[in-house]
């Protein structure tokens, strides 16, 4: 067996990460500032997708409310900054602790259910957070709220687009590293074992519920990190960032990239944004005016992916050695 980075998957992944690492230099050299903002969003959504992959991919838990944790992260930053607490050293830990606490609470309730009921109860809790945020008249209600970015005096200026991009990229790498350590640990093996055969894992004496709950809480924390970055990216928060459609998008991204593949969420996010950016002009080439209705093509594409492309993009890169 060749070293992991000498396989086609390894080479493509390394090239992709290198490309992402130098993206601000490229966009500056070619004067494509819009591309940098797309890149930033890709990196942030990748973090969210990696966190969903931890529970969906490795745990087999179809959470249909993952965007709520993004929202909690974003709103924690937004509310604190609106109240005058602008230090990121305070905002970010608070945001993550709140998200992990909320994930632990709803995880403890949701994980009692199975299958469709789990999908629906996670969705319901996410809707609950969504409506709570839209009821916060003091913080913009439905319309959302412009916020000032988190401050890290003397360390980094988040208004600097390139610096902010590199921060997001570094956090994505850290998230991927953590995820890889997690799934290859004993904890990860229990989680994956429970996905394949819950009963057997329980018979072996593993408290499956507690393992899943811990994974759910960790995933919530990383999603909140993505939410924090999202709020800082646009200097704006709104309930729309946690609408159920966003949770659906995240599932699409994870499945598109390849469920339970470490870099799958990264491929998935890039593909998702590429479709969003390039499908409309492509359709316009075929017939002017068609581009506006690109989702007529994208919707059936999802159906086809769901029906015929189980392994996602990751499976195109050859077989995996798990």
């Amino acid at each position: 067996m060749p070293a992991p980075w000498r396989t086609p998957r390894g080479i493509i992944t390394v090239l992709l990460l290198l490309l992402l690492a130098v993206l601000p230099l490229l966009t500056q050299a070619f004067d494509q500032r819009y591309l940098l903002s797309v890149g930033t969003r890709i990196v942030i959504w990748s973090i969210a997708a990696v966190s969903l992959n931890m529970i969906l991919g490795y745990g087999g838990l179809v959470s249909f409310g993952h965007a709520a944790f993004l929202g909690i992260g974003g709103y924690a930053v937004g509310i604190l900054s609106a109240e005058g607490y602008e230090s990121g050293w305070m905002q970010w830990p608070v945001a993550i602790v709140v998200a992990v606490a909320w994930a632990t609470l709803i995880g403890a309730l949701s994980l009692r259910t199975r299958g469709v009921y789990f999908i629906m109860i996670t969705l319901a809790f996410a809707q609950l957070v969504y409506y709570l945020s839209s009821g916060l008249a003091a913080y913009g209600g439905d319309d959302g709220l412009n916020i000032s970015r988190s401050r890290f005096p003397g360390l980094i200026e988040l208004r600097d687009k390139a610096a902010f991009y590199w921060l997001c990229f570094a956090l994505l790498c850290a998230t991927l590293w953590f995820c890889s350590r997690l799934v290859h640990s004993r904890f990860g093996h229990v989680l994956r074992g429970a996905r394949s055969n819950e009963l057997r894992m329980m018979a072996l004496g593993f408290p499956v519920f507690r393992y899943r709950l811990a994974a759910f809480a960790i995933a919530g924390g990383f999603a909140a990190l993505a939410g924090i970055l999202l709020a800082n990216d646009g200097a704006y928060i709104s309930p729309a960032m946690m609408s159920w459609v966003k949770s659906g998008d995240l599932i699409v991204i994870v499945v598109l990239g390849g469920i339970g593949a470490l870099f799958g969420p990264l491929y998935g996010t890039i593909a998702f944004f590429a479709v969003e950016e390039f499908l409309p002009p492509l359709l316009d080439l075929l017939h002017r005016g068609w581009g506006e209705y690109w989702q007529i093509v994208f919707g059936p594409l999802l159906v086809i992916i769901a029906l015929y492309a189980r392994g996602g993009i990751d499976s195109l890169l050859g077989r995996r050695h798990a």
């Binding site: 969906l56 179809v62 249909f64 309730l109 009692r112 259910t113 199975r114 299958g115 469709v116 009921y117 999908i119 629906m120 109860i121 969705l123 319901a124 809790f125 809707q127 609950l128 409506y131 709570l132 839209s134 009821g135 008249a137 003091a138 209600g141 159920w244 459609v245 659906g248 599932i251 699409v252 499945v255 469920i259 209705y293 690109w294 989702q295 007529i296 994208f298 919707g299 059936p300 594409l301 999802l302 159906v303 992916i305 769901a306 029906l307 189980r310």
Partner: protein, 304 residues
């Protein structure tokens, strides 16, 4: 007191509407084991079909009656082309595929009917009020909605409990492989049930249209509530869906009608009227969470 009565009736009316949507969903869920997110799209298509057909025929009743077979046909087309392939798949793939269908239908409507909302006028013969009690007027259209909703609920209950088709549906819900083995044409049965669900969804959509409005994505948010209803009621249970729809209807209306006044006693008027609809929505989800914690398969669901 009169105000309370009217609000309770509004809750019943909303509950019946939700029941129509939830009934089709719980049938496809219970029998075919399909998580159909696109059920809300059928609700939307019902309203758009009705808008077009009412325009053509110049008659509310005729347009409505023609829209229902159109919904049935659409439901059968969706079943044969997409849904049928999903029954044996896991829930994740079903969610993904039907999520794709939502995007497709929303965009299709935008391409065909344009981005602006449409409105369907309340038909002239119902555009008045009736006195439900001496001196207590109530809009006749909403009253008609309650009547139609109740009739459909009774017909559905009769269909499921008393007819041969209903017997097959119930048998399919408890063990579909067994009834296939007994020689029932299960593909035909599934198409029929899916089409029936589409008719109920479309009926709900077109009946709601004169009260709300006909717009893109109108089925998406209400679909989530319909899911909540069938999960509270127990998947596959028509009775459960009815009970849960009534409860949710009351919570929603009571929340909207009475919470603002209650909240105003300890917060500003502006924030009270912003918070009240949010809180009534939150209440619905809290009820669902409480039910699931208490009974993980819903009120009338089968325990495995």
């Amino acid at each position: 007191m009169d105000y309370l009565l009217i609000q309770v009736l509004n809750g019943v009316q909303l509950g019946l509407l939700m029941f129509l949507l939830a009934a089709g969903l719980t049938l496809t869920f219970g029998i075919m084991d399909l998580v159909n997110l696109a059920h809300g799209s059928l609700y939307m298509m019902g309203a758009y079909f009705a808008w077009t057909l009412i325009g053509w025929t110049d008659s509310f009743v005729l347009g409505t009656l023609l829209a229902l077979p159109a919904c049935f046909l659409l439901g059968v087309i969706v079943e044969v082309t997409v849904a049928r392939r999903l029954y044996a798949r896991d829930h994740l793939e079903q969610v993904l595929a039907t999520f794709g269908l939502i995007l497709f239908f929303n965009e299709l409507v935008r391409a065909v009917w344009g981005p602006d909302g449409k409105s369907i006028a309340v038909p002239a013969f119902l555009n008045r009020t009736v006195n439900i009690l001496p001196g207590v007027p109530y809009p006749a259209y909403r009253f008609a909605l309650i009547a139609v909703g109740l009739v459909v609920a009774v017909v559905l209950a009769w269909l499921v409990a008393r007819t041969r088709l209903g017997m097959l549906i119930r048998a399919g819900a408890s063990n579909r492989r067994m009834i296939a083995a007994l020689g029932v044409n299960i593909e035909l049965l599934f198409s029929l049930v899916f089409g029936l669900g589409a008719v109920f969804a479309g009926l709900a959509g077109l009946m709601a249209a004169p009260i709300a409005s006909v717009k893109i994505g109108m089925g998406d948010d209400i679909l989530i509530v319909a899911f909540v209803i069938i999960v509270i009621g127990g998947i596959g249970s028509i009775k459960g869906a009815f009970v849960a729809a009534m409860v949710v209807g009351q919570i929603d209306i009571v929340g909207r009608a009475f919470l603002p006044d209650f909240l105003k006693t300890f917060m500003g008027a502006a924030s009270a009227s912003a918070a009240a609809p949010a809180i009534s929505q939150v209440l619905i989800y809290l009820v669902m969470a409480a039910v699931l914690v208490w009974r993980p398969t819903g009120l009338f669901g089968q325990r495995s």
